[in-house]
Symmetry: C2
């Protein structure tokens, strides 16, 4: 890759507490796809490299959507009067069972990847369904987008209808190993597998154990769900009466570590918080989903204060939109509701903290990503905010308006790890 630079107005974080606003500056992408930092002007050592002029716009590292179900894409905005378990049974499992049909998978995954390409999202962690072929097809489609993604073939051998349930742990594990072999043969550059037990109730003890062993053996990351809904938590307690908590069930099986994403985490006990922190696992906050299927409000401000790893997810199709700008606004909104209505929450998420979670917070799961600090993978999303901003506006204002008025349709250009990931000519 040739090194290049972007001349523009940069907004990014250095950790949750530091927002960097750099108007009229230059960010350099080195030949290895890593950022060399943001400079007042192009350093002499880079004289002559390609310089892209985005001075009219703002440039951010792009948003990381750390939890979404590709197999539920067609269900966005449906079943929003149900709660989790009813919603799974009536709406979600029937839809996911359709992905045994590869033509259907191709149609839906084509729509999803096209939409992901267009918007703010640079990186994502994605659940497919319990179908190996459809999962491989999704990975093929994603690889072409230029986005960096983690994709999981879903494991589920228990407590689900036959149409979607795998017959037993042995079958599920064998299929997963077969899928991983095929993935390896594909040699993807940007699309990597992630071990994906659906959630505790849909995995037998043998399957949880086998998946933990697989993760340990391969070093692959893990994604699942935790403490989303009170009925679900009670169900887990009944299924695993000897485990001290829902989180402990994952932990006992070797599924909770620094490369684990746990979606929701609304009702974590102090012990579960301590365990998540000790293991270095990630909380993926999905506020649109949590509102839609009435799961509750995760105390993200508290988790940030505790030093837990935090990030955001659209959770399609509990969530109704892929647009991470709307997810960010909802994260701020529900945090304010919690602050307003519950004395136990004396602080709420600021716009800066929600932005951090959407960028560096999620990006860190991929290594160094989601910021323009030196040594980070060069992700950049160029946003046309000229529809409402005036030339004289301070960067503070442009940042605030990005949060409150941002929409996927404002994205002009996108780079992921230094590669152009949007092609307006298609």
């Amino acid at each position: 890759m040739e090194p290049f630079a972007i001349w523009g107005n940069f907004i990014y974080t250095e950790g949750p507490e530091k927002l960097c606003l750099r108007p009229n500056s230059v960010a350099v992408c080195k030949e290895n796809g890593l950022c060399d930092g943001v400079f007042d002007r192009l350093p002499d050592r880079y004289k002559g490299i390609k310089l892209k002029d985005y001075r009219e716009f703002i440039t951010i590292p792009g948003y990381c959507d750390m939890h979404l179900h590709a197999g539920q894409y067609r269900n966005q905005g449906r079943g929003m009067d149900m709660q989790l378990i009813q919603w799974l049974e009536r709406l979600t499992y029937p839809e996911e069972s359709m992905f045994r049909d590869l033509d259907y998978a191709k149609e839906v995954y084509g729509e999803l990847t096209a939409d992901l390409s267009e918007g703010f999202t640079t990186r994502a962690a994605i659940f497919s369904t319990a179908h190996t072929k459809a999962t491989l097809l999704l990975m093929d489609e994603l690889e072409r987008t230029g986005l960096k993604t983690l994709v999981g073939r879903v494991n589920m051998d228990s407590n689900a209808p036959d149409s979607i349930r795998e017959q037993d742990a042995a079958y599920s594990l064998a299929e997963t190993r077969d899928w991983l072999n095929q993935v390896r043969d594909k040699g993807f550059l940007r699309t990597q597998p992630i071990v994906t037990p659906r959630f505790v109730p849909s995995c037998s003890p043998a399957l949880l154990k086998g998946l933990g062993e697989l993760a340990g053996e391969t070093g692959l990351p893990v994604q699942s769900h935790l403490d989303e809904n009170r009925d679900e938590i009670e169900w887990v307690r009944q299924l695993h009466p000897n485990s001290p908590s829902y989180a402990a069930v994952y932990d006992e099986n070797g599924l909770l570590g620094p490369r684990t994403l746990m979606a929701h985490c609304i009702y974590m006990t102090d012990e579960e918080c301590a365990l998540m922190k000790e293991r270095g696992a990630y909380v993926v906050h999905c506020p649109t989903s949590n509102t839609n299927v009435r799961s509750g409000i995760a105390p993200m401000r508290k988790y940030l204060d505790m030093g837990l790893h935090t990030c955001l997810g659209s959770d399609i199709s509990g969530g109704h939109t892929l647009d991470m700008a709307e997810v960010i606004r909802q994260a701020i909104g529900v945090s304010r509701a919690l602050w307003q209505l519950d004395e136990g929450h004396p602080a709420y998420l600021t716009a800066q903290e929600a932005f951090y979670m959407a960028t560096e917070g999620g990006g860190s799961f991929f290594g160094k990503a989601g910021s323009f600090q030196p040594g980070y993978e060069f992700d950049a999303v160029v946003v046309d905010d000229t529809g409402y901003c005036q030339r004289k506006d301070a960067m503070e204002t442009r940042f605030e308006q990005l949060i409150y008025r941002g929409r996927d349709s404002m994205v002009v250009d996108k780079y992921v790890a230094g590669e152009c990931a949007i092609d307006r000519t298609i």
Copy 2:
């Protein structure tokens, strides 16, 4: 006007409890701009009238935005880390003071009216600023959009900086009468004046009294703010220690009646609720604003149950968007938060109820509007939902997805009181 009919898929309410879903039906607009109802097919008596084919799309009565500040349009998405009084002083009053400059007013009001024209909104109740000329200019611009609007020149002679405060009650009242005379001379068809005391703290007792007399004498409607923020309520109590409540201050001055819009109403006491109900006044719920400036959550489900008149407002620029689809989603979301976190709220707003508030709830303030019932003014917004809906989808699904996936940019055509209000050729 020539009568015409729309062939399409209709979604509308008959009161808060009845959602009408009429696929492949025909709605007739009579020569007087009133709806004759929705029929399975064009009635014989209308044979030969113009029939517009919108069978691909869905058609709704359009949304009524019953509270927004035109003079704050440029401030959308700014100052969202402040609460009401600080936000007024630091951000809002300085911006509104700019509207003494007619060139600035023309620029901003041009942007606002263009954006209002494009989206879901068919009707609106709008605060201008305390400037007569700029208010007339806004009314000229709005008249051209085809929307039906109520526009108020803001009265405020107290507790505000000199840059925006009127010198005294006599001046404010004289200016208002002069404005009303000029409005009468303009002979607007769609744009009508509304008496607009900003809120109790910014009006002297003499001004409140004079505005109540003016409303009584002219029969004009009234709009203001009520019970938005706890500090504001305490301020009103100190200013009017002998009045039993904030609502009572309006009532004592003849400003609370069946043609009164009160924005916010978050913290109404039982007595205030009873008074609002007795007077037949309207609660305008502004959930995006209430979240943004951290005012609180209005118990709208309770107000609906009590039989209060309820409707929705974008409240630009406490609210960050004119898009009423996002306001509807937020109304549902905050109601769920209240249900989740406060045992005093055993029920939450359904999608249907929020849709009712945005259509018929607000429309009823204009007489019969906001529904396709016979005798209602023929308002219709044609929405292209083909981007996500499949042909086989039931109307229930299309309704739910309209609520959760709706965006202003999906509007294809718009009629207000039978007149075409959108012109894609501009």
